[in-house]
């Protein structure tokens, strides 16, 4: 009891005293994109339980005025909720201490509309982070900005990405001590993928580390880099023909996590470019990989490639969740990742060595992951490339078994991981393309079809120690929402046909649902309000790939009226665009 009070006091002090990390799970705030450094999206709040969740009801809504896909999640710091919209990246600050939650301020940066066309997949933003009295987030046109959390005044803005080379920024930054970590999207535009650290106080770029190419650019330093399964120098150079790495992709558009004990920053890299695999023989390191770096100087410590020689657009930008698990009776500091390629991986986060790898959805491109060398055991008939023609029946589709935009959650109470999954497959026909700066560098046609069972999505509970599904709730449409799980043993998510759902974290039983006005591609959060009650917030606002695949879900342009997607003809019956912030409570 005394410890709890002390912890609360420390938390209050740290909020005013500029600490950037705290046991947020205990304070009832939500100050980082994924709740905590371990990216668990777990909250210790427990007022809402499996027994009373049926009494949830909406208590407040707000239209953001923006129609792009509302990925990401709000922040709650003290008595204020912060919401970032898709382009034009408005930042709203709502006063949770007043009736109706009126705005304290809003910040409207001048974001270049040209960025919309340099984005592969809608004008999304995955959220802000809080540190040292600042709200820090990224603008689609390649800037990182810090805003005073109290006044909304702009403190600094730094151009980090080159829009003219197809670099945009959609990811949520993470602050580690005094470093703001950011990365760029552009795996469909032939970028030379990177991650950067900026000084939190000034916005100055402190280091830039590329994810592919020469060791010098990758910040591979002698004696520091120890990948678990390969050895030697220039691994990011020698796994590409010629200079193809220069436009090889490896974007960073997902989620960052950090282990303060090991002092390692973890993140996933995206697909290799172009989509024609024949153009880039070799493993193409370190695309479709997880990288572990020192935040101080960016040094690469280890890297593991989930999909060597990516031939299916299998980005690995999905979240890396850090959890201490018991595997075969032994405690392990683990890193758990649901890859687009259909396998869920449990790694030793000290070394990058794979402990468990098992499919969580239908997988046809590989039979298994060989734990002796970490490599997939491929089905050669599913290998793609310009010389292979149209390759049929590849599962998962290039949207991923889990969309990296939809981060999972982990409960230390149930020891289970919760995630939305997709159940559709693709044909894949690729061809050679030419690099033209600032234009797409792809070359693929990849029509989709429903996977086994006919349902297009699901929400699952996963045991990462053994690699098996514990329970599964099928969804009729693709599932694109992040997960939230709480100490009340309730898991929350949204669906692309517009339902907000609460389910029993132990059984998957549906406890509550509400139709929220647009399909959900954002991530629910929970917090303790100034009145002491527990709230759950999420965005409605279909978009990202979903608004492009289902072009008839859009009604905002009379000159662009599209037919339904052939693999999901019905979804526009249930949703149209529109960003709405929802708050629920008992």
């Amino acid at each position: 009891m005394r410890a709890t009070v002390l912890l609360a006091l420390v938390s209050i002090l740290s909020w005013s005293a500029n600490a950037t990390d705290a046991a947020d799970a205990g304070t009832g705030q939500w100050r980082m994109p994924s709740a905590d450094y371990a990216a668990t999206r777990y909250s210790a709040l427990s007022q809402i339980t499996a027994a009373n969740a049926a009494n949830l009801r909406p208590v407040w809504t707000f239209s953001t005025g923006v129609l792009g896909g509302h990925e990401g999640q709000p922040l709650v710091v003290g008595g204020t909720m912060y919401v970032v919209t898709p382009w034009p990246n408005v930042l709203y600050a709502f006063d949770l201490t007043r009736e109706g939650y009126p705005l304290e301020w809003k910040y409207r940066p001048n974001v270049d509309p040209a960025a919309i066309g340099e984005s592969c997949c809608d004008s999304v933003n995955r959220g802000a982070t809080y540190a040292d009295g600042r709200i820090v987030y990224n603008l689609l046109d390649g800037h990182t900005v810090a805003v005073d959390a109290r006044t909304g005044r702009e403190l600094w803005m730094t151009r980090v990405a080159d829009l003219h080379s197809g670099e945009t920024v959609t990811m949520a930054p993470l602050v580690v001590r005094d470093r703001v970590i950011v990365g760029a999207s552009g795996g469909e535009f032939g970028i030379y993928g990177w991650i950067k650290a900026l000084d939190l106080a000034t916005g100055r770029v402190l280091w830039t580390a590329h994810n592919i190419g020469p060791d010098a650019g990758m910040l591979v330093r002698p004696g520091v880099f120890h990948p678990p399964y390969v050895q030697g120098s220039e691994l990011g150079l020698r796994s590409w023909p010629g200079e193809t790495w220069r436009h090889g992709g490896a974007p960073v558009w997902g989620w960052l996590s950090y282990d303060p004990v090991l002092d390692l920053l973890y993140y996933g890299t995206g697909n290799a470019g172009p989509y024609d695999a024949d153009s880039r023989a070799g493993d193409n390191r370190w695309t479709s990989s997880v990288l572990a770096r020192r935040p101080e100087d960016g040094s690469l410590v280890w890297a593991y490639q989930f999909t060597p020689h990516d031939s299916w657009d299998y980005d690995s930008t999905g979240a890396m969740l850090l959890a201490d698990l018991r595997i075969a009776g032994r405690p392990v500091p683990a890193l758990v990742h649901f890859d687009k390629n259909g396998f869920a991986y449990t790694l030793d986060r000290r070394t990058g060595r794979v402990l468990v790898a098992a499919p969580y959805t239908e997988v046809t491109w590989a039979k298994s992951i060989d734990l002796t060398n970490g490599r997939p055991v491929r089905d050669p008939t599913k290998q793609t490339g310009a010389s292979r023609g149209n390759v049929h029946g590849i599962c998962p589709s290039l949207e991923g078994g889990v969309s990296p935009a939809a981060p999972p959650a982990y409960s230390p109470r149930t020891h289970l991981f919760y995630t939305s999954t997709n159940n559709f497959c693709m044909d894949y026909e690729s061809w050679r393309v030419s690099y033209l700066r600032g234009t797409p560098y792809m070359g693929v046609n990849s029509p989709y079809s429903p996977g086994p069972g006919g349902h297009l999505g699901a929400f699952i509970a996963w045991d990462a120690a053994t690699g098996r599904i514990v329970w599964k709730d099928d969804e009729p449409f693709p599932s694109w929402s992040g997960a939230l799980v709480t100490a009340g043993d309730v898991a929350f998510y949204g669906t692309t046909d517009g339902w907000f759902k609460a389910v029993d974290a132990r059984t998957g039983k549906l406890l509550y649902r509400f139709k929220v006005g647009s399909g959900v591609v954002g991530n629910p959060i929970t917090y303790r309000g100034p009145d002491g009650r527990q709230y759950v917030a999420l965005y409605a606002g279909i978009g990202g790939d979903l608004a492009l695949l289902d072009g008839d879900a859009r009604s905002n342009d009379p000159t662009d009226v599209r037919a339904p997607a052939d693999f999901a003809k019905e979804i526009a019956r249930h949703t149209s665009q529109g960003g709405i912030v929802w708050i629920f409570a008992l």
Binding site: A114, I116, V433, S446, L548, R573
Partner: protein, 163 residues
């Protein structure tokens, strides 16, 4: 980034996987001389005071030298792929992050002149200016392809059977 086939009848002969080499051979076949001049980039819809556009600027009336030539339309389909237009506008220009260009509806007007200006000078929200890399004749090849797409009957109503 994902293309989704939606089955518009192809009006150009099958898809071509064209690299720069092919592009250059198309250029030779159609008499295109690639202009390397920096593109004149305009990123706003161009209004003209008193309805009188400045000569030579977007909005001036232009005449397509290849008007309706099916051979040029076929070359334009290849160019549409080799210039990565399909990466944004989708296979057969059926739309992706960029709008559908074959549905008979046009954001910036569907005349030869309007479509030429969209490609040559670019448009807001991310349509790059291709005039600098393609030159006037290359842009006209693309215009000829896009104008050859047979727009389906305009269907403002979408309904679901058994509703």
């Amino acid at each position: 980034m994902r293309n989704e086939t939606r089955g518009r009848p192809r009006t150009a002969s099958g898809r071509v996987r064209a690299g720069i080499t092919t592009l250059l051979s198309i250029a030779a076949a159609t008499g295109i001389t690639a202009s390397r001049a920096a593109p004149d980039t305009h990123t706003r819809t161009h209004l003209s005071a008193a309805g009188r556009p400045a000569p030579g600027l977007p909005g001036a009336t232009r005449v397509n030298p290849f008007n309706g030539d099916p051979r040029i339309a076929t070359a334009g389909a290849k160019l549409f792929t080799s210039m990565n237009c399909d990466g944004c506008h989708g296979e057969d220009a059926a739309g992706w992050v960029g709008p559908d260009l074959g549905d008979g509806r046009w954001r910036f007007g569907g005349s030869d002149t309007d479509v030429f200006d969209s490609i040559f000078f670019g448009r807001p929200k991310g349509m790059p200016a291709f005039g600098g890399v393609l030159g006037e004749r290359g842009v006209w090849v693309l215009v000829t392809y896009l104008r050859s797409l047979k727009a389906p009957a305009d269907q403002p109503t979408e309904s679901w059977p058994g509703h």
